[in-house]
C-alpha cells in the first residue's frame, strides 16, 4: 500500500538519496508533497525488515519444522532483496524493469508472509486433513499453479505499464486470460470440493477478489488512462483507484496461493497418477 501510494502520487524520486533520506537515516524531513509518501514508505520498509528479522530469528529458535525455518529465512532474504531493489530504483532513476521487479518482489514477500502465517496457525498444525483424490485432468492443483503463473504475468505487465515501460493493452489483454483461468479454478474447486472448508473458503475469496479487482481495474483505467491522460498532477480518484487495484491484486495473489496450498494438502493427485507405471514396477521389483 505504501509503495503503491508512492507510485500513484508520482513521488518515487522525491527523496533523491538512498539508503539515507536527505542525508539522514531516520530524521523526519519537512513533511510535505511527495516526501510524505516516499519517506513514510521507507520507514514502513525499515520496520518491515526489523519485524521480518525478528520472525526469522524466532522461527529459527522455536520452530521444529525445518522447512518452515527455511521459509522464514527465505522471507528475510526476500525483504532484503526488496530493499536493494528499492534502492536501485532510486539510484538508477526508476528504470521500468527494476521498478517492476520491486513491485513484483513486494507481492512475493507478502505471499511468503501469508504462507508463514498459514503454516504456523493452530488450524494447520492441529487439523487432520480431509483428503479427496483428484481424478480430473487438468488437476485442481495444476489449475491453481496456472492461476498463480498468470497472476504473476499480470503483475509484471501491470508494473511495466505503471512504470512507463509498456503500453496498457498487454495488461488489459492478459486480464481476460487471468479471469478465465481463475474462474475455471474457482468453479472447479467449488463444484467438486465445496465440502472441504479449507478449499471452499479460499476459492470463494479468490472469486470475490477477482470480481472486485476487475471493477477496480476498470475504474483505474478510466481515471488514469481515459480521463486522466492530460492531468497536470495525480488526482484523488486515480490515486485511490490504482492503490486499491494494487492492494486487491496482492490479496488476490495471496488468496490464490492459499488455495494452491490447501489443494495440495486436501486434494492430492492419486499416487497411481503421480508415479508412472515403470517407476512403480521398478520400486515393486
Amino acid at each position: 500500500m505504501a509503495g503503491a501510494l508512492v507510485t500513484s502520487n508520482d513521488a518515487g524520486l522525491s527523496v533523491p538519496d538512498w539508503p539515507t533520506s536527505f542525508g539522514y537515516l531516520v530524521k523526519v524531513p519537512h513533511f510535505v508533497g511527495g516526501i510524505r509518501y516516499e519517506w513514510s514508505h521507507r520507514m514502513v520498509a525499515g520496520t518491515l525488515v526489523s519485524l521480518t528479522l525478528a520472525i526469522a530469528i524466532w522461527t529459527l529458535l522455536v520452530e521444529r519444522r525445518r522447512w518452515l525455518r527455511w521459509l522464514a529465512v527465505g522471507a528475510f532474504c526476500t525483504v532484503i532483496a526488496q530493499a536493494i531493489l528499492g534502492g536501485l530504483t532510486v539510484l538508477l532513476f526508476q528504470p521500468p524493469a527494476v521498478s517492476t521487479a520491486h513491485a513484483t518482489v513486494a507481492q512475493t514477500f507478502f505471499c511468503i508472509a501469508v504462507a508463514i502465517a498459514l503454516f504456523s496457525g493452530r488450524k494447520w498444525v492441529e487439523e487432520q486433513p480431509r483428503i479427496e483424490f483428484d481424478q480430473r485432468r487438468p488437476s485442481l492443483f495444476t489449475l491453481t499453479l496456472l492461476s498463480i503463473f498468470v497472476l504473476y504475468v499480470q503483475l509484471i505487465l501491470g508494473g511495466m505499464f505503471r512504470h512507463h515501460g509498456m503500453s496498457w493493452w498487454p495488461h488489459v489483454l492478459n486480464a481476460v486470460i487471468v479471469s478465465f483461468v481463475l474462474a475455471w479454478t474457482a468453479v472447479r474447486a467449488l463444484s467438486v470440493y465445496s465440502e472441504i472448508e479449507a478449499v471452499r473458503r479460499p476459492a470463494i475469496l479468490m472469486l470475490s477478489l477477482l470480481i472486485t479487482q476487475l471493477c477496480l481495474g476498470f475504474t483505474a483505467f478510466l481515471t488514469r488512462v481515459a480521463w486522466g491522460r492530460n492531468a497536470v498532477q495525480p488526482e484523488l480518484p486515480m490515486v485511490v483507484s490504482t492503490v486499491a487495484h494494487v492492494a486487491v491484486g496482492a490479496l488476490l495473489l495471496a488468496a490464490t496461493m492459499i488455495l494452491s496450498i490447501q489443494v495440495w494438502r486436501h486434494v492430492p493427485v492419486a499416487f497411481e497418477e503421480r508415479v508412472s507405471r515403470e517407476q512403480r514396477d521398478a520400486s515393486a521389483a
Binding site: 524520486l13 519537512h30 510524505r36 529465512v73 528475510f76 532513476f93 492530460n230 492531468a231
Partner: protein, 263 residues
Amino acid sequence: MNKKTSRRMISVSTLACALLLTVACNKKENTEQSNNNMSQTAATAPAATPIDPATVATVNGTVKFDGMAPKPAKIDMSQDPACKGMNEAENVVVDNGDLANVFVYVKDGLGSRTFDVPKDEVVLDQSGCKYHPHMLGVMAGQTVQIKNDDQTTHNIHPTPKDNREWNESQPPASAPLEKSFAREEIMLPVKCNQHPWMKMYINVVKSPFYAVTDKAGKYEIKGLPPGDYTIAFVHEKLGEQDQKVTVAPKDTKTVDQSFKAAE
C-alpha cells in the same frame, strides 16, 4: 539459531551491502566521468565560425492557436503550505489566439558552422512552486543556474533521452545549482517529484538561433547569417511544425505559424 543459518544470514547481508556500495560508487564514477567529458568537450571545442555582423538577418513572427483554446487546468497546491503561486497549469497558454511557450529554433541550414558557448548562465527559478520560465532554451555546454526562491525544498529532476539524468534536492535559501547539458536535445522534461505539478522543458541546441514565444505569441531570432533555413516550432503538447525560409543579407523576415488543437 544454528550456526549454518546465522552464517548464511551474515553472508546475505554482506552481499547486499557490497552490491549497494558498488551501485553507489559506479554512479559517482559515472557522474565524474560525465563532468570530465564535458570539460574536455569545452576545452577541445573548435573555434566558432566567423559571421559578418554587417550581413546578418532577423527572423521574427507570431505563433497562433487555431481553434477553441483549452481552459487552463487548475493546480491543487494544498499538499505544501509553502506553495502559494498561481494555480494554473502552463501546458497550453493561449491569450487572444496567441500561443506562448513555443520553442522556435533553426533546425537545419547552418551546415557545419560552430558557435561559441555563451559564458552567461541561463537562470531557471523556482518560485511559487512553479518553474520560471516554463520553456527554456540553452546552448549545449552553457551553464543553467537553478535557484530556489520558495520556502520549501524542491528536487530538480531532468529526464532526458540523450543527456545524463540527475536528481538533486534544493532546500530553501540554498546556493543555486549550476548545471549544463552536453548534447542537443529538444523538449527535455524537467520535473519536481516533491510537487508533481511542477514541470518544465529545457531545449538544448547547438546554435544561438532560438527563441521562445512570449504571451503575445511573438518571437525573434537575430544575427542569422544569410541562407536557406528550416525553422522548427515545437510545443510540448501540440507537437512540432517546420517552415522553410530564405534570408538575404540584412533581411528581416516574418515567419508566422499556427497550431491546431490536438485531437
